[in-house]
């Protein structure tokens, strides 16, 4: 493999190493989040809690920084308080970025796990195997986005006292203490959709699979789909904003285009595209 080849095909090469060769992926799950539409309502975060059996750690532990929100709503004040209290956050200069595991194609968290509890699936997802994890937390240290969370305690009794434990999602486990976890792009829903499609003898169509956050967002700011399907909504958004997978530096000549990926200069090749807020000049 020549150096030029590697640099141009890094993402494909990296996935190939994981699989022991170069394959064509069946799906490549990706997301596009329109920050202009995001109101910061946190419904996506709550939906993630409900869908993925996330424990509520309590105020004290959250203040210590031991929270477990796979999807976090980050609030930044990029302009000084321009409006009064009667206005929404956005008019007052606040912006929101819902961040979840970026499912990097060249994930820095994958090579450093001592027991190989995290790896890249043929779906383009970064998978976390809860029962293999021994909790060395090296993956969390290597994630530049800090999107990996750790079970500092065992939350089962505290977070879901009877009868709340009855509302747990049976499709996904409740994690033991000492285990790392993170957003999985609702892999249980992905698997379920693939099973249904296989049963019905067809391929997975765009819209069959919706992550909990995409499903709940009231403004449809989050779009989830298969990047390998050129007709899917998410592929069209990526193409419209001229952002490509497998490249660390995108072509940014057209200033009208708002698409960007977070920290892509670190060569992580994330699968989540953000569309920057339209701002008044």
């Amino acid at each position: 493999m020549s150096l030029k080849n590697i640099l141009e095909n890094w993402s494909h090469y990296r996935r190939g190493i994981e699989e022991g060769g170069h394959h064509d992926y069946e799906h490549m799950w990706g997301m596009a989040i329109d920050l202009n539409k995001c109101t910061g309502c946190n419904a996506c975060s709550v939906a993630c809690y409900a869908e993925n059996n996330l424990p509520t750690v309590g105020k004290e532990r959250l203040m210590k920084g031991q929270g477990l929100h796979w999807l976090r709503m980050e609030r930044y004040w990029d302009e000084p308080n321009v409006g009064g209290d009667d206005q929404e956050f956005q008019e007052r200069g606040g912006s929101f970025i819902p961040t979840m595991c970026q499912q990097c194609n060249a994930a820095p968290c994958e090579p450093v796990c001592p027991v190989a509890a995290t790896y890249h699936t043929p779906d383009g997802l970064n998978a976390q195997i809860y029962n293999r994890c021994i909790g060395s937390r090296y993956c969390a240290n290597n994630c530049p986005y800090r999107l990996r969370y750790f079970n500092f305690y065992s939350y089962y009794e505290e977070s879901w006292p009877e009868p709340l434990n009855l509302q747990l999602n049976p499709d996904i486990s409740v994690r033991d203490m000492g285990v790392m976890e993170k957003c999985t792009f609702c892999v249980q829903r992905v698997r379920s959709a693939k099973d249904t499609a296989a049963r019905e003898g067809r391929k997975v169509m765009d819209g069959d699979v919706q992550t909990a956050c995409a499903q709940t967002c009231p403004t449809q700011a989050i779009v989830f789909g298969d990047m390998l399907d050129k007709e899917s909504k998410v592929s069209k958004i990526w193409a419209a904003h001229e952002v490509e997978l497998g490249k660390a530096k995108q072509n940014k000549s057209n200033k009208e285009l708002r698409g960007y990926r977070v920290l892509e200069g670190l060569n992580t090749d994330p699968s989540v595209l953000y569309l920057d807020r339209v701002r008044e000049v």
């Binding site: 961040t99 796990c113 290597n142």
Partner: protein
């Protein structure tokens, strides 16, 4: 003022007697020290049981501070383990014979530091009970550890180094164990008989012994360098600012040698005082150790300042910010203390008056090691506090659980060392005899000319060597 490394007129019998006397029934002070070590270990055990049952939360670990004192102390203990290798192996190869009275306890220190360090990768895991998954064993599911992870390299490197150090310590002790066997009764005699492997001190045995010892010394030196380079890879192989630094392997090895040398000075002064080893662990030898420590301190200081300079003049804005944060941020008091202990305090080792003053050297050596421990902490925590993602910037201080376990690790080391000095000779008797012999004949022209090739070699027509044989 003594200037000779050792008194050249010490009788062999006196050497035996002095060293064997250190292994006699201990006085009250020893039992007090032992009890203190056990108490420290008890603190750590209580804290660890609590942490094992409740989770890593009580340690004040949080997002993003996923590693803290456990990893820092782990690296510190691995660093201290380089003492024995440096003194034993490196100085042996360059034939610096002043190491002979002091290398035995240094090697013991190496082994016990490794045994202490090895506890921490286990303690810091979230699911400690599954720690053996890091080892490559044939599982029925066909699952192997991830060989690309520096933590797995750690497991290999440390086990190899620990085994090799233990073997080196043991093999080097065989002639001494034979002396102990010849002078012991009861359970000690049984123990030494087994351990001395039937050593009789004849010529063939000595020749083989010297060859093996040299081979092991040559083997151990690259191993020591590689161990700490691999431990530094835990940081250097990540992408975090302040960790992803190419100079980390040599930097950590220099820090390790530094830490080990300082610990040698500490234990030198302690053993010399309590066991009255003044004839063997002499002031000139202490001075030489101090000079060596000073040299290594300057190497470490250089590498530290170079690391700062290369980040400061580099293009990586995030790394530069992480560096500046270490100087002015919330952890800066410890950072400045580390720089003081690591760069300024060693200058006390440059002055002969201070080098000869034992209480000063004791305090200086403890400060040097404090500086090294702080250095490890200042590598781990400030990077995690302020890395690439501003939303995740956070200041965190370790809790009593972490401090208790770190504190207890010193007790564990102390316990192992205390047991060692009472069961095994902490000064190498046969090597001290060699040193005295060579020094004595160095001054005697007549004998020096009679000896060909090397001093101590038998002449043609001589009978077999009678050293060590029971009379």
């Amino acid at each position: 003022m003594q200037t000779k490394d050792i008194n050249e007129n010490i009788a062999w019998a006196k050497i035996n007697k002095d060293v064997l006397r250190s292994m006699e029934n201990p006085r009250m002070g020893y039992w007090v020290a032992l009890a203190a070590c056990v108490a420290m270990i008890a603190c750590a055990v209580v804290a660890e049981i609590y942490q094992y049952q409740v989770g890593m939360g009580p340690a004040n670990l949080n997002w993003p501070h996923m590693w803290d004192l456990y990893i820092a102390t782990f690296v510190f203990w691995i660093g201290m383990s380089h003492s024995g290798t440096l003194l034993s192996a490196i100085l042996h190869i360059i034939q610096a014979d002043w190491r002979k009275p002091i290398y035995r306890f240094a090697e013991a220190m190496t082994l016990f530091s490794l045994m202490t360090a090895g506890l921490f990768p286990i303690i810091h895991l979230g699911r400690v009970w599954n720690m053996y998954w890091v080892l490559p064993y044939v599982s029925d599911r066909g699952i192997w550890p991830n060989f690309r992870s520096p933590l797995v390299w750690d497991a290999f490197a440390i086990t190899t180094y620990m085994t090799s150090s233990a073997l080196f310590l043991f093999i080097g002790m065989i002639p001494d164990l034979a002396i102990c066997r010849d002078n012991a009764r009861g359970w000690r005699q049984k123990l030494y008989t087994v351990l001395s492997l039937g050593w009789q001190g004849d010529d063939r045995q000595w020749r083989n012994f010297r060859r093996i010892y040299l081979m092991m010394a040559c083997f151990l030196i690259p191993l020591a360098v590689s161990v700490h380079s691999i431990v530094s890879a835990d940081f250097a192989m990540s992408i975090m600012p302040g960790w992803h630094i190419t100079s980390f392997p040599p930097y950590f090895v220099a820090g390790a040698l530094y830490s080990g040398c300082a610990a040698i000075i500490t234990l030198f002064i302690i053993l010399r005082y309590f066991f009255r080893f003044d004839e063997y662990m002499t002031i000139p030898i202490l001075e030489k150790t101090c000079k060596l420590t000073f040299a290594i301190a300057m190497v470490w200081s250089y590498l530290t300042l170079i690391e700062f300079a290369s980040v400061w003049y580099g293009h990586d804005a995030v790394a530069k910010e992480a560096l500046v944060e270490r100087f002015v941020g919330p952890y800066s008091p410890f950072f400045w203390l580390m720089l003081f202990c690591g760069i300024i305090v060693p200058f006390a080792l440059a002055f002969e008056k201070l080098r000869r003053h034992l209480p000063t050297m004791f305090v200086v050596s403890l400060l040097l090691n404090l500086g090294m421990w702080l250095e490890r902490w200042m590598i781990v925590t400030p990077t995690l506090a302020m890395s690439y993602y501003p939303f995740a910037w956070d200041i965190m201080w370790p809790s009593m659980v972490q401090w208790a376990i770190v504190f207890g690790s010193f007790g564990w080391f102390g316990l192992l060392f205390l047991i060692f000095v009472k069961v095994f000779p902490s000064v190498s008797m046969y090597e001290v005899k060699e040193m005295v012999f060579h020094r004595r004949h160095y001054h005697s022209e007549e004998i020096a000319t009679k000896l060909h090739r090397r001093e101590g070699d038998p002449q043609p027509g001589d009978g077999p060597s009678t050293e060590g044989v029971r009379s």
